[in-house]
Amino acid sequence: MAATRLAVACVLPAATLVACGPGSASYTVSVDGSSTVYPITEAMAEEFGIAATEKVNVTIATSGTGGGFKAFCAGERDISNASRHIKESEIELCKKNGIEYVEFNIAIDGLTVVVNPANTFVECLTVAELERIWKPGSTLSRWSEVRAEWPNEPIKLYGAGTNSGTFDYFTEAIMGRVGAIRDDFSASEDDNVLVQGVEGDRNALGFFGYAYYAENTTRLKSVAVDPGTGCVQPTPESIQAGTYAPLARPLLIYVSRESMKRSVVRDFVRFYLEHSLEYVPETGYIALGADVYEQHLKTLAVFDSTAVATSAAP
C-alpha cells in the first residue's frame, strides 16, 4: 500500500522535473524536526558544507519533534531532529511505512526553571513543589502557598507552548504524563517571548531550554531543582553528569536506514558525531561524554562496511 503510493508519487514528479522524497539527488541530505536541536544540526551542516570537497546540500526544516517524525516516518526525510525519544505511536507509523532507523544521542539540554532576578527568596524548588504549581487544575496562585515563609505575592507562570518538545518533556518529567498541565499560564512556542515575560515580571516563574537561559544570565535567575536528593543548579557539569534531574533531556537524531545507503548521509552523520564535542557547546547545549560519540561512530562504521559490500556485489 505504502509502496504503491510512493511509486505513484515518484512517477508524477519525474514528468514535471520535480524532486521526489529524500535521496532524489546523491548530494542532498534533508533534515527536519525539533527546533531545539536545529542550532546543533545547523552548525554541523554549515561546517560540513565548508569541509566538503564535493557538492553537498544539507537542508534543515523545523517542523517540531512531532512534525519531524511525521515526515520522517513517511519516508520524506533522511534525518529527524528530536528533543525526546521517539514515541510508541511514531514507531508504529514508521513500521507501517517500512521506515527503519538508527538513533544517535548527540547532546543534552537542561530545561531550566527561571525567576526574575528581583526575586530573592526562591533559590530551589522541589519536584513536588513544581508539580503542585503546574499540575492540571492547580489553583495555586501565590508564592506563600508554595512555602509558607515566602511572601504573599502572586505567581505569574510562563511556559512552553503545546507544540514544542519542551512542553512534552517538562510535563512528562514533572507531572508524569505528557501534556498534563494547568491551562492558565502564559504559553509561547517562542522561547524569546518567555524570556521577555520573565524578565519584565518580578513575580514570574517560567521554564525553557538551557540555551535561552545561558544567553540571558544577567536578565534571569535560574532556580535549582531538588528531585529529593538535594538542590542542583543547572550547569553544563551537572546536566552532563546527570545530577540535574529530572529536567535534563536527551537531544537526538534519527537516521533512516534507507538513507544510510547513500555515502553523503553517512559522511554527514560521521561528521556530526566527530565534531559534536567541538560544536555542541557553542550552541548553548551540553555535549555528551566522548565515549558516547565513539560508540555511535562504531555503529556507523557497520553501515559503511555493509554499504561497501552491497555496492561491490554484482
Binding site: V18, A19, Y38, T41, A45, E46, N57, G284
Partner: protein
C-alpha cells in the same frame, strides 16, 4: 416682504452674518416664514409652486445658528482625522526607526549575498533572497494569467445572472480567508496530492492561490472603468469581442491591472505562514536553481532568526527586514511607474 428670507438664508452660510445695517440681534432667531412662500428671493426660486424644500418643513423657530459650536465640531472632526492618520504614521515610523537602529549596522553586501551561518556576524540572506525572487517570479507566472483571465471572463463574457454573482461573491470572500488556510490547502493539494514535494513550485502555486482573489477583483475594477462607449464603438465598427478586448479594453485597463497585480505580489512576498506550511526550510546553504529545488524565503528566514536566543541574530533579522522592506518599496514604486507610464500614453 422678501427681505428677511434672504438674510435668513445668508446667516448660516456666510462666515459673518450680513447685517445690512440692522442690529445683529435680529438674526439670532430669524423667522423662516418667508421660505414657505414661492418668491424670487427664496431658495425655492427655481421650482416655484412645487413642494417646499425639506429643510423648510422643519419648525423654523427651532433653528439656531450656534456658529461657534458648529465651527468647533468642524475643526474637531478635522483634528480627529489628523490623529487617525498620525497614529498609523507614528507607529510605522517607530517600527522603521527600531528596525533601522537594530539592523542598519549589519547591512552589507556580504550579508545580502552570504549564506546562513550559526554565527550571527557571518549570517547572510543569499538563499532566502534568491528563494523569494524565485517564488515571486513563479507566483506572478501563475497568478497573473489566471487572475486577469478570470476578470475578463467575468466582466466581458459571463452573463449577468445568479451564477456570476455567486462566483463574484465567493471570490470576494476568498480574499478574506487567512493565509494559513491557503498553506494548509497547498500542503494537501500541491505538496502531497500533486507530489510536488517541498519545492519552490508548491510554494509559488500556494501563494498564487492566495493572491488570485486580489488580482481578480483589481482587474475587474480596472476593466469596469473602461468607458462603455469604447466597447460600443469597437462593436459598431465590426470588431469581434476578442478584438475589442485586445485592442481597446486591455490597453486602457492595463495600468489598473498592473497596479493590482504588483500590490498582490507584494503581499505574497511578505507572507511567512503559508510557506512554512508548504515546506520552507530553516537552513538552506545553496541558491535554488530550478523550480523543483528546496528553498527558504526572506520572511521565514527573519522569523527563524528572531526566535534565536542570541541578540546578535535579532540584529541580522532586522537587517533582513530592511532588505525585505526595500524590496516591497521598489515593487510599489514599479507599480506607480507603470501606472503613470501607461496612463500618459493612453
Amino acid at each position: 416682504m422678501t427681505e428677511p428670507v434672504k438674510d435668513a438664508v445668508a446667516v448660516p452660510a456666510a462666515p459673518t452674518p450680513r447685517t445690512n445695517g440692522r442690529p445683529a440681534t435680529q438674526f439670532v432667531r430669524p423667522t423662516f416664514a418667508g421660505l414657505q412662500r414661492p418668491s424670487n428671493g427664496s431658495i425655492n426660486a427655481d421650482e416655484s409652486n412645487s413642494a417646499p424644500h425639506p429643510a423648510a418643513q422643519r419648525d423654523p423657530s427651532r433653528f439656531a445658528p450656534r456658529v461657534a459650536q458648529r465651527r468647533f465640531i468642524a475643526s474637531a472632526f478635522a483634528a480627529l482625522c489628523l490623529v487617525a492618520t498620525l497614529i498609523g504614521v507614528v507607529v510605522l515610523a517607530a517600527l522603521l526607526i527600531d528596525i533601522f537602529r537594530d539592523g542598519a549596522s549589519r547591512l552589507s553586501w556580504s550579508m545580502i549575498t552570504g549564506f546562513p551561518s550559526r554565527f550571527a556576524d557571518r549570517a547572510g540572506i543569499g538563499p532566502a533572497l534568491a528563494g523569494s525572487a524565485w517564488v515571486l517570479a513563479l507566483t506572478a507566472l501563475f497568478a497573473f494569467p489566471l487572475g486577469v483571465g478570470t476578470a475578463i471572463w467575468l466582466e466581458e463574457y459571463a452573463p449577468n445572472n445568479r451564477w456570476r454573482r455567486l462566483i463574484e461573491m465567493n471570490i470576494a470572500n476568498l480574499a478574506g480567508v487567512p493565509s494559513i488556510v491557503y498553506g494548509i490547502l497547498g500542503l494537501a493539494l500541491f505538496v502531497r496530492v500533486m507530489s510536488l514535494g517541498r519545492s519552490l513550485m508548491a510554494a509559488a502555486l500556494t501563494l498564487a492561490l492566495l493572491i488570485l482573489p486580489v488580482i481578480i477583483i483589481a482587474s475587474q475594477e480596472a476593466i469596469k472603468a473602461v468607458p462603455r462607449t469604447i466597447r460600443l464603438g469597437a462593436y459598431a465598427l465590426g470588431a469581434t469581442r476578442w478584438e475589442t478586448i485586445k485592442h481597446q479594453i486591455l490597453p486602457v485597463a492595463l495600468p489598473g491591472i498592473m497596479t493590482g497585480t504588483i500590490l498582490a505580489l507584494s503581499r505574497a512576498i511578505g507572507e511567512a505562514a503559508p510557506v512554512i506550511l508548504v515546506g520552507a526550510l530553516g537552513f538552506v546553504a545553496f541558491i535554488p536553481t530550478n523550480p523543483s529545488d528546496q528553498y527558504t524565503v526572506l520572511p521565514f528566514q527573519i522569523f527563524n532568526w528572531v526566535s534565536r536566543p542570541q541578540t546578535a541574530f535579532h540584529e541580522v533579522a532586522a537587517a533582513a527586514s530592511i532588505v525585505l522592506l526595500a524590496l516591497l518599496l521598489s515593487m510599489s514604486a514599479i507599480a506607480i511607474w507603470l501606472r503613470n507610464k501607461y496612463t500618459r500614453r493612453s
